[in-house]
């Protein structure tokens, strides 16, 4: 590592990035484990086998094996929320969001790579992230008793579950797209930059 190389990612960004990456993998794996107990989506308050569904996912019903999935999902969710809150506070206080995440006016050239990249991060951090969290909270009966508005905003607990599924799917799409972009731009150099914080201008 040469100290002359430009500092690309701060320590907080690097730490929260990797913690969030691990939590996201755990959330996706456990989310699938929970989903296959009942791979059917509904709209409104209620839904079950024998009644109308919105979407029947082409996955077999593998009932009764989602206990560990739920334990892992909640543990990973707590880690993701803690990491997300630290990142949000950091991003606001240091103006990281304004300087490096939100698309700036000079980026707003249609089709420009930077605009698309910043746009994707902005959508993930400020829309999909909060949506996946709030829609997940909405199907907790305890939370619904404290904040009924959380359920009302989605139009029912089954609607919230369906939206949670699609928000989760959006996270998966981002995750895959992100990995592809990192691969195309030099996997080793980009990964090293996110670990050490420094970017080599020549790649490695």
């Amino acid at each position: 590592m040469h100290l002359g190389e430009p500092m690309r990612h701060s320590a907080i960004v690097r730490a929260t990035h990797w913690v969030m990456a691990a939590a996201t993998v755990a959330l996706i794996v456990s989310g699938v484990a929970i989903l296959i107990a009942h791979p059917r989506l509904y709209w409104g308050e209620t839904g079950g086998v024998g009644g109308p569904s919105l979407i029947d996912l082409p996955i077999p019903f593998l009932l009764g094996h989602s206990g560990w999935g739920r334990y892992l999902h909640f543990l990973a969710a707590w880690i993701a929320v803690a990491s997300g809150v630290i990142y949000l506070i950091y991003g606001i206080v240091t103006r990281h969001f304004v300087r490096e995440v939100l698309p700036s006016s000079t980026d707003l050239v249609p089709g420009s790579y930077n605009a698309m990249q910043r746009g994707a991060y902005t959508i993930l951090v400020f829309m999909i992230g909060p949506l996946v969290l709030v829609s997940g909270l909405a199907f907790s009966p305890a939370i619904a008793s404290v904040m009924p508005a959380v359920v009302a905003v989605f139009g029912g607990q089954q609607s919230a579950r369906t939206i949670h599924f699609f928000a989760g799917l959006a996270v998966v799409v981002f995750f895959v797209g992100h990995l592809v972009m990192v691969w195309l731009n030099g996997f080793v150099a980009r990964t090293r930059a996110m670990i050490t914080g420094r970017a080599s201008t020549e790649g490695s």
């Binding site: 009644g51 009764g64 009966p141 939370i143």
Partner: protein
């Protein structure tokens, strides 16, 4: 970033670490005292369980009510999850329309008692139309009628030291709830569903209804309940068969 750890920095970090450890130990003692640690708090997953249980318990004061619905919201299809017990003791009672059925209440109570279906039906009845979700993902809305658990606990003189009520059914799915839920106005022993006696497969003659938790806490085919200050002696000490199978004991999730 300085690579040299000065003595001053070492002392400060040591003190911070000690304060942190003392703080955590203190927080754990406080949390346990206020009933914020679930029985399945062990292991790595236990950290998530404890955070969820403690934060949701603190958010919900005792009187927070589960959402109630209108008659028009009652689900037309109510799936059955798990059939009625096949064992003789239950089948005999079923044949006699539960004439000889009794709900035994014991443990930390002044007057251990047993109640017939007639007894329970003679007490002030309570109806509610609430949402029930299975942990698998499906859900329904139904109207339930019964007697508040708090009323029965009052009759038997439950000890103020009690922290949990454990429920034993005719099948194997025993469970427990904390006193905050046991005394909640929407927690009751239900004998009616949608204006009729509870259908056999939905938990006849009496099932528990815990409106702010997932369906598996609403124990069907009740036979006995025990008031206790610890869940240690029951099963593996994790508060229910579902936690032994790997499902969260706290199911407000």
């Amino acid at each position: 970033m300085s690579r040299i750890i000065s003595r001053r920095r070492l002392i400060v970090s040591g003190l911070t670490l000690a304060a942190g450890a003392t703080g955590i130990a203190g927080a754990v003692r406080l949390a346990d005292r206020y009933g914020l640690i679930p029985p399945d708090h062990g292991g790595l997953f236990g950290i998530g369980e404890t955070l969820t249980y403690a934060s949701q318990r603190m958010l919900m004061s005792r009187q927070r009510l589960a959402r109630e619905f209108g008659r028009s919201d009652i689900s037309k299809v109510i799936p059955v999850n798990g059939r009625a017990p096949k064992k003789d003791a239950y089948q005999r009672l079923l044949r006699d329309e539960f004439r000889d059925w009794r709900l035994a209440v014991d443990g930390l109570v002044a007057r251990p008692s047993s109640f017939s279906l007639e007894d329970l039906m003679s007490y002030p009845s309570h109806s509610q139309i609430t949402h029930q979700a299975c942990e698998e993902g499906w859900s329904f809305i139904a109207e339930w009628t019964g007697v508040r658990l708090s009323y029965v606990l009052d009759l038997v003189g439950a000890d103020p030291r009690a922290r949990y009520v454990v429920f034993f059914p005719f099948d194997s799915f025993w469970e427990s709830i904390d006193m905050a839920d046991a005394l909640h106005p929407q927690t009751f022993l239900a004998y009616g569903m949608n204006g009729q006696r509870i259908p056999t497969d939905h938990g006849a003659p009496v099932r528990l209804r815990v409106s702010r938790q997932l369906g598996y806490k609403s124990v069907k085919y009740l036979s006995r309940m025990t008031v206790t200050d610890t869940l240690q002696p029951f099963g593996k000490g994790t508060g229910g068969i579902n936690a032994e199978y790997g499902y969260s004991w706290w199911a407000g999730i």
